[in-house]
Symmetry: C2
């Protein structure tokens, strides 16, 4: 028996900030799994800043198409299986988010290990989000002994893990976030050495106060003013992992870039962009190292969980882009 | 007997474009060489864009001090020697330019091999200028088979060699320069596949016309609009060697940077600054490879030689910053 499933489709491409009218709710029948397939009921779905890019006509990743369902990370329970090794009740991670049920080839899903970690963690700290922090810090920025590390958007899902990995490896870590509450969380809960609220004043001034002797690594989730401030503070041979630029995602016009890129020459700075799908080969190292820290409680993670299932997903995504989350933003399905 | 020598000193720090009043001519007595020293009469001195940065109060390199002589690359003839292995008549390269005579420790000078190459070449194509092109292209941009290469300021001393090295290694090469004559030189004399005059229209549009399928490597001597255009045209995993940003050297205020740095994330671009003093270990490889091409005539180089000696040097430097040169800009001493 097929499953009746509701899904969110892209109704129109947002100009600037997404509006409710850019989304539409539709109902479809999801077929029973054929051989090699599974049917999965969504329990949590992820909303991520990168999805904003996919709503544009052009993006580095596969774009969302008008009239078609959105997609993205989700976790769910197998409800029917035509695939060896998968049984009803298994918990899997997959990429068919934004819908209540999905039928997919079993090799498009990954079973989650049974254990003490809540299943939602596999969408965040132990999923692609966590891998992004790990690869960005260790491989792209090439973290070295003694580096002073600055992370922007540090209360976000990627930033908070990047900062904690750096702390666990013995570094001095400075974070920026958008509210006093988030700043307190970074320092009091996550052990950041310094943190500041980027709404309190110029980023450059606050960064210089937090790191008067400068920084070596900048993990950039924000772009814009943050990147310029970091370039001013970077020591010779400093490195920037360009992970995202949420400050400009909703911009209708391109905004001017940092005015100080000429400093990259004399200070021999490297700025390097990356996307996590190129780095799946690091998943094993990541899962071992960060998985142990999560299990031991050394890495803390927060989730901002929005209840309400599929109908609540568009608003959760719009709120995410306005910075309403602390840590990973998820939508829980009933 | 000491040598009476005239030298150019920094009279005041330029604000924006250097003016004649920023320089002063002075006369000094240069002592006879002590043991281990040599006295050298300048025959050619180099004027280079990087010197503009040293005239500011702060620079990545040692700054010029007010009331003190400027310095920089020069070639000259040994006139007296207290050092083993150096005899009057030897030709040496050294860093005590901007003066008619200089006495220095012999290990601050390098003897130039006797041979078919004019001595001025050791200030340009076979000197630090040439090494800059070689290291920037091969090591910093990491030139790989099949890369399409864009060089800005391509009629300059560094750019023209970078483009020729890329051509000799089999790449498609596009260059930008600031006049129709320079553009013709790039295509007709140096074998560039395409070249354009950046004064003829928007850089981005001209670059897309020259490289409709995009580029892989950008050798940046200019910054500003050129860098933004290159970022728009770079393929995934493209690389930028940030060598200089002459477009902003005389700017009194910092100018906005490229509006499209966010593309570095999705396209996994790397932007890397460098200065040549970090890469002296590559001099041997460079001298062998490029020296052979210069000797065989495969690498062509132009020099813009200004006669008039020490008195002509400040104007030559100011003209260089306005792009009056084709290839290496030198001042010849009588």
């Amino acid at each position: 028996m097929p499953y009746s499933s509701r899904e969110i489709r892209l109704a129109s491409r947002p100009q600037g900030e997404p509006q409710p009218s850019n989304f539409e709710l539709a109902e479809v029948d999801v077929p029973d799994p054929a051989e090699g397939e599974i049917a999965v009921r969504t329990t949590f779905m992820s909303v991520d800043p990168y999805m904003r890019g996919r709503m544009n006509e052009k993006s580095y990743a596969q774009v969302f198409e008008i009239g078609k369902p959105l997609f993205g990370g989700a976790v769910g329970e197998v409800v029917a299986s035509g695939a060896e090794g998968f049984a009803p009740g298994d918990v899997v991670v997959h990429q068919q988010g934004w819908r209540e049920y999905a039928t997919m080839p079993a090799n498009h899903a990954r079973k989650v290990p049974a254990g003490g970690v809540p299943e939602s963690a596999y969408l965040g700290v132990l999923g692609m989000t966590g891998l992004t922090a790990y690869v960005g810090l260790l491989d792209i920025a090439g973290l070295k002994d003694g580096d002073v590390v600055f992370v922007s958007g540090a209360a976000g899902a990627v930033g908070s893990l990047a900062g904690q990995i750096a702390k666990l490896k013995g570094h001095t870590v400075i974070g920026s976030a958008g509210s006093a509450e988030k700043v307190a969380h970074l320092v009091d809960d996550l052990g950041f050495d310094h943190a500041f609220n980027y709404n309190d004043g110029p980023v450059g001034k606050q960064l210089r106060a937090a790191a008067p002797d400068g920084i070596d690594v900048y993990f950039d989730n924000v772009g814009g003013e943050h990147l310029e401030a970091a370039i001013f503070s970077l020591h010779p041979f400093g490195r920037v992992a360009l992970c995202g630029a949420i400050s400009g995602y909703n911009a209708k016009e391109l905004e001017p870039g940092p005015r100080n890129l000429h400093l990259c020459v004399g200070n021999r700075l490297t700025l390097r962009g990356f996307i996590i799908s190129d780095h799946q080969d690091r998943f094993g190292d990541f899962a071992r190292e960060v998985g142990a820290w999560v299990a031991s409680g050394d890495v803390k993670f927060r989730e901002t969980i929005v209840d309400g299932g599929i109908e609540a997903a568009p608003q959760a995504f719009m709120d995410l882009l306005r910075g309403a989350n602390v840590g990973k933003m998820l939508v829980r399905f009933g």
